[in-house]
């Protein structure tokens, strides 16, 4: 009976393992930001990250966010070209990010300066725009925009739709790509102005994780 149940429980995991049998195929899947690749990476790393979080006595909810932070940061680095495949499993890098983030959290919030940071993950001076704090703050700023502006920005940067597709599908009130770009540029300026005026992005904590 236990073997049957275990079979059902590991069936999904085995499916991912067959799609991404090695580190290279997983990296390629992550580069394309495939959902299955993200899930496979999660299944590979969540246990280790969970243990790290528990070592530092983080609540389960925070550990879940930590896993999400780390995977997102890896995707960001792959997208920016800062992480390239060198034959290592991307999961190893995620676990290293998690270790560093937790140590940083401990240093910043628990005043424990004895926790050494691991420089290998190169996180110390690089802003993390993918962290929960950073993304939550950005969403608050977006909420201050007019709904039309918010929609224009969402279509371009969150839904990643091409301008022509937005026009063709009549997702906005604008009928030409140029008009769409002009208005979106103004909306972006408004968003930057709001961020500057409110000082929302002046704190390092929102990008530090």
């Amino acid at each position: 009976m236990a073997q049957i149940l275990n079979f059902f429980r590991t069936q999904n995991k085995n499916h991912f393992a067959s799609v991404y049998p090695d580190a290279k195929t997983l990296f390629d899947g992550l580069k394309l930001e495939e959902n299955d690749a993200i899930r496979h990476l999660y299944s590979k790393t969540s246990g280790a990250v969970f243990n790290i979080g528990k070592t530092y006595q983080l609540p389960d909810g925070d550990i879940e966010e930590l896993i999400c932070d780390c995977i997102t940061l890896l995707l960001q680095k792959i997208r920016d070209g800062h992480y390239v495949f060198q034959g290592f499993d991307p999961g190893t890098y995620v676990v290293e990010i998690a270790k560093n983030k937790v140590k940083r959290f401990k240093r910043n919030h628990l005043k424990d300066k004895t926790a050494p940071l691991d420089e290998s993950t190169d996180l110390t001076d690089e802003p993390d725009f993918t962290s929960l704090a950073a993304t939550e703050l950005l969403e608050k700023l977006l909420a201050l925009l007019h709904v039309n502006c918010r929609n224009l920005i969402r279509l371009k940067y969150l839904d990643e739709l091409r301008d022509k597709e937005v026009i063709d599908r009549k997702l906005t009130q604008y009928t030409t790509v140029d008009a769409l770009k002009n208005h979106r540029a103004k909306c972006m300026k408004k968003l930057v102005d709001i961020a500057t005026r409110t000082g929302g992005f002046s704190r390092r904590s929102d990008v530090g994780g």
Partner: protein, 293 residues
């Protein structure tokens, strides 16, 4: 500045080229405010992409979470069904075992009591002058001792004409209470065709009870377990029983035959009397047996 600001996004997205790109880069070098705006715009783009990535990862992981929740839910139902089936089987086995145990418990207990009683105190037994005849044929006198084939044939005849107890004490065995007396345990054993056990349970005369039922049962138990001499002794004592006298006379005669005394004068006289007695309930059997002998 305002004019160039519209082009910031195109510049950052790499959509400018030729003269437009050159003009923009010239302005960028000369206009510090524009350079700062480009930097702010670039940072905001990075933040938006970060938000996009995080939402994408969250959605993927949420889907994973939903799947892992759905799978256990399906498994939960499977587990519940499996547990129910196992519980049903276990319950059935338990009830079956318990009923068997309840049936056998009194028998085993009584048997153990017998062993203990036998070991510690002498048992008051009915005198059985021919006890052990079956186990020790050497005790039979040469005149009485028939050949082995004859003895076997007589036993078969006796068993063929044997009249089993018809009274209701065997039928009532299934309605016995949990706490059984030794007699009740013997009835139960007899009902289960454990004749030797039934006979052993009633080995002590004190366990036979106040009426003749106990002795009658023991006689049948002894007969069916091949202890014909002992059975004959019991049947003889029951020949004056109001309730069992006919069966006792008939089966007592069969016990004599089974012991090889078919050609005895006494046996022949008894058999003739039964065959000629019209009021004897087993007259027909007596006639048939007489012919067979």
């Amino acid at each position: 500045m305002e004019h160039f600001y519209v082009q910031i996004e195109s510049y950052l997205l790499g959509e400018l080229n030729g003269r437009e790109l050159e003009a923009f880069e010239n302005a960028l070098r000369q206009d510090a405010a524009l350079a700062r705006a480009v930097e702010q715009h670039h940072t905001m783009q990075q933040r938006l992409r970060g938000l996009h990535l995080r939402k994408k990862v969250s959605a993927a992981l949420q889907e994973t979470e939903n799947q892992t929740r759905r799978i256990p839910f399906r498994l939960w139902r499977v587990e519940l069904a499996a547990a129910f089936v196992l519980l049903a089987i276990a319950s059935w086995l338990f009830i079956d075992q318990r009923s068997k145990s309840a049936r056998n418990q009194a028998l085993v207990q009584a048997q153990q009591e017998i062993i203990a009683t036998t070991d510690t105190q002498p048992v008051a037994k009915t005198p059985l002058p021919e006890e052990g005849l079956q186990q020790n044929p050497g005790n039979i006198s040469p005149k009485e001792a028939p050949g082995a084939e004859n003895l076997k044939r007589y036993k078969t005849l006796a068993q063929t004409f044997y009249v089993a107890p018809t009274t209701d004490f065997v039928r009532s065995a299934n309605e016995m209470p949990a706490e059984q007396t030794r007699l009740q345990a013997a009835i139960k054993a007899f009902d289960q065709k454990k004749y030797r056990l039934a006979a052993d349970l009633l080995n002590n005369d004190a366990s036979l009870g106040a009426d003749d039922s106990g002795r009658f049962l023991r006689a049948h138990a002894r007969f069916n377990s091949g202890r014909f001499a002992a059975a004959a002794a019991d049947f003889n004592l029951l020949e004056n029983s109001f309730q069992y006298k006919y069966e006792a006379r008939w089966n007592g005669l069969l016990c004599r035959i089974a012991q090889g005394k078919a050609q005895d004068r006494e046996t022949q006289a008894l058999l003739d009397a039964m065959a000629s007695d019209a009021d004897f309930p087993f007259q027909e059997q007596a006639i048939a047996l007489s012919k067979r002998l």
